[in-house]
């Protein structure tokens, strides 16, 4: 840290490169870029195991162990040499690695040896040792002729001669690193897929999706995509050329071997604090909850994924700091069920935001995104209508009109050439949809539970109180996802930039409203899970959820988040909770060179 600031204090000089970053550079240029330029740092198990190895080594070799921090303005490098030893009068830098050495087949194995492979250093490790050697040379003035790498897994030490070729490699890598650091574009994903399997940054880099899209791009992704959105609805009427193109594309994705790298589920709990007067505090690495007339609760911070404070719950500064440190998001929701805001320590990577601003300010690009988003939303509504009215006589209850009405909007959506026109179409589809919704609710259900159109701020009936609150819960998760991915929630493409709401979050939420809120709520009504008296509070024409109702809705929504769902394009299944983050990442990919995957999920 100090070295970085020393480097940057001189205005013209670029910050010093960490020697490890050269190691990363040779492994994969994209890895180097993500870590050093975008500052995405993710430690995986191997990284922690490596750190533990170094703690163990330091203790075992007490006195003999001298890790050295060195830096050189001339080379532009900074690094920590694991160990420096003197052998036969000359200094030798040691580098300790947890894994195995590389093996090369020897032409004439020595007699009696079972192992015909000779251990040697991996190219990236050679480079690292070379860089350390050059740092030591500059610091001590002595010429270093040899470095050594110790591989702990197969217990061998490999000698690395510090020859002119290696020195030239180091110098060349430094200049390559500098030119990459000046670049604004992420380097492409490496062609060697095997590198990604063990890469700690795979969850941020998403190499699998990037490769999938580069395979698609040979078939010109933009054109078929724009039109294939209406794919499944057309299928009902007549199979089209678009649909054939679409299915062909999907099967090419399915047949090619795709490793699954997307991070699996977050097993952490969402902690909702609903009890009025409750206080959330910190005890060590634990979250502590004091609620009136309830025993004190303590939860390990690593078991908590988010803290949602409803109404007037308190949280201490210490707890907030712990949440920031351990990447726990904190959300505030009003007693009435309105979303207020979030606190998240997510990476505020400025480069990502610059790219986001640049991309979203291009009118044609924005229009294309808006169209795809509106299409996704309208089609989920249509699919839900079709699905809910599957076993009914659509003519008699008037659903056919809704279906036809929404279908008729689709061609207009393709022709629409302004964001306002698309807003209008989406609004009309929404009105049709909400008009049809009451018919999906069992006729035997209490009349008071049925909606009369869509009302909000305040909700005027029980149904609207439910979906209003659930949308607030959904919004907090969408916000979290956007902040985790590192985008700016205040700069969207569809909703108008207003100061109080977060337009990008409002944009993204459109993808999930039907699947994550409308559908489970209608289903729960039909299961008769709601009590019109106990679960709601009616104040004049306003209707709110009671404490009991709020708890029920939280349960319903949080359970929905754990439902698994197979993404129709990426073809792997993940929970809705994860899906939100995936779509946020795919949105970013629209302008980072791998477009075409955002908003392609459809309700089945």
């Amino acid at each position: 840290m100090a070295a970085y600031s020393a480097g940057t204090s001189n205005n013209n000089a670029a910050p010093l490169l960490r020697v490890q970053s050269l190691h990363a550079l040779l492994y994969c240029e994209r890895l180097f870029y993500l870590e050093e330029v975008e500052n995405v740092r993710l430690a995986d198990a191997a990284v922690y195991a490596g750190r533990r190895l170094h703690v163990e080594l330091a203790r075992e070799e007490e006195g003999d162990w001298h890790a050295l921090d060195l830096k050189s303005e001339k080379l532009g490098l900074i690094g920590r040499v694991d160990c420096l030893r003197r052998r036969n009068g000359s200094l030798i830098p040691y580098e300790h690695k947890r894994g195995r050495a590389a093996r090369i087949r020897t032409t004439n194995p020595p007699k009696g040896s079972k192992n015909s492979d000779e251990a040697c250093a991996w190219p990236s490790d050679r480079l690292q040792v070379g860089a350390y050697a050059m740092l030591v040379e500059e610091a001590t003035g002595q010429t270093i002729v040899e470095g050594r790498v110790r591989y702990h897994q197969d217990n061998v030490t490999v000698r690395v001669p510090i020859d002119p070729a290696l020195r030239a490699d180091v110098i060349q890598s430094i200049s390559r690193a500098r030119s990459l650091a000046d670049c604004v574009e992420r380097p492409p994903v490496t062609e060697n897929e095997r590198l990604c399997v063990k890469c700690s940054l795979a969850p941020a880099c998403l190499p699998e999706e990037a490769r999938a899209i580069s395979r698609l791009s040979s078939e010109s992704i933009h054109k078929p995509l724009q039109r294939s959105v209406g794919l499944k609805t057309q299928q009902i009427d007549q199979p089209s050329a678009d649909q054939k193109a679409g299915t062909g594309k999907e099967s090419s994705l399915a047949t090619s071997h795709v490793p699954r790298l997307f991070p699996a589920d977050d097993h952490r709990q969402a902690l909702h604090v609903v009890t009025p007067g409750a206080r959330v505090g910190r005890a060590g690495d634990e979250i502590e909850i004091f609620a009136p007339e309830q025993p004190k609760e303590r939860h390990p911070v690593r078991e908590i994924g988010q803290v949602v404070l409803h109404g007037f719950a308190q949280i201490t500064t210490q707890a907030l700091r712990l949440c920031a440190d351990k990447e726990v998001a904190v959300h505030w929701i009003t007693q009435g069920g309105g979303y207020i805001g979030s606190f998240s320590s997510g990476a505020g990577a400025v480069q990502k935001r610059i790219r986001q601003y640049e991309a979203l300010r291009t009118p044609e690009f924005r229009l294309q995104l808006v169209r795809r988003l509106a299409e996704a939303k309208i089609l989920s509504q249509l699919r839900f209508v079709l699905r809910a009215s599957r076993n009914t006589d659509r003519e008699t209850i008037g659903i056919s009109q809704t279906i036809d009405g929404i279908r008729k909007l689709m061609p207009a959506l393709q022709r629409a050439n302004s964001v306002d026109a698309i807003r209008g179409l989406e609004g009309r589809a929404g009105a049709l949809y909400f008009k049809a919704l009451p018919t999906f609710i069992d006729s035997a259900i209490d009349e008071r539970m049925k909606p009369e159109g869509r009302t909000r701020r305040p909700p005027r009936d029980r149904f609207n109180a439910l979906i209003g609150f659930a949308y607030a819960l959904l919004l907090k998760d969408v916000m979290s996802a956007i902040l985790t991915v590192g985008l700016d929630p205040a700069f969207g493409f569809y909703h108008r930039p207003r100061s109080q709401a977060h337009p990008l979050a409002l944009d993204l939420i459109e993808l999930f409203r039907v699947a994550m809120v409308d559908l489970p709520i209608v289903a729960s009504l039909n299961r008769r899970q709601w009590d019109p008296d106990d679960d709601f509070v009616v104040a004049g024409f306003q209707v709110w959820l009671s404490d009991l109702g709020r708890r029920k809705m939280i349960e319903l929504y949080e359970k929905r988040k754990t439902d698994r769902w197979k993404h129709p394009v990426l073809r792997y299944s993940l929970t809705y909770a994860r899906l939100i983050e995936l779509e946020a990442r795919l949105l970013e990919k629209e302008w980072t060179g791998e477009p075409g995957l955002f908003a392609r999920m459809r309700l089945r």
Binding site: R52, R59, L261, L271, I554
Partner: protein
């Protein structure tokens, strides 16, 4: 890179109270105490290594540490007589 979280029983024996307190505080951040010196933690492979690394910095060679991995069958077969709420079924959320 699947990060399936597995249950672990973490048991330790630490010979000095100062180190014990530090280790105890670290583990409390990862899982819940079942009994003295016995924790149950649901850890991803990353968290397992992270916890081992953090403890390694505190422990001395004379201290003992054990991680017992439990499969889902082992978890189901666990017989407990414990304080209430110590080993409850984990759900995806908690409402207080």
């Amino acid at each position: 890179m699947s990060q399936t979280n597995l249950w672990y029983l973490v048991a330790y024996d630490i010979r000095e109270s100062k180190r014990w307190r530090r280790a105890y505080k670290i583990i409390r951040g990862y899982g819940k105490p079942l009994q003295y010196s016995l924790f149950r933690c649901r850890l991803s492979s990353v968290q397992l290594e992270q916890l081992r690394w953090e403890l390694e910095k505190v422990l001395e060679p004379e201290d003992a540490l054990m991680f017992v991995g439990l499969c889902s069958n082992c978890v189901e077969r666990t017989i407990l007589r414990n304080r209430v709420g110590v080993w409850e079924n984990e759900s995806a959320f908690r409402v207080v």
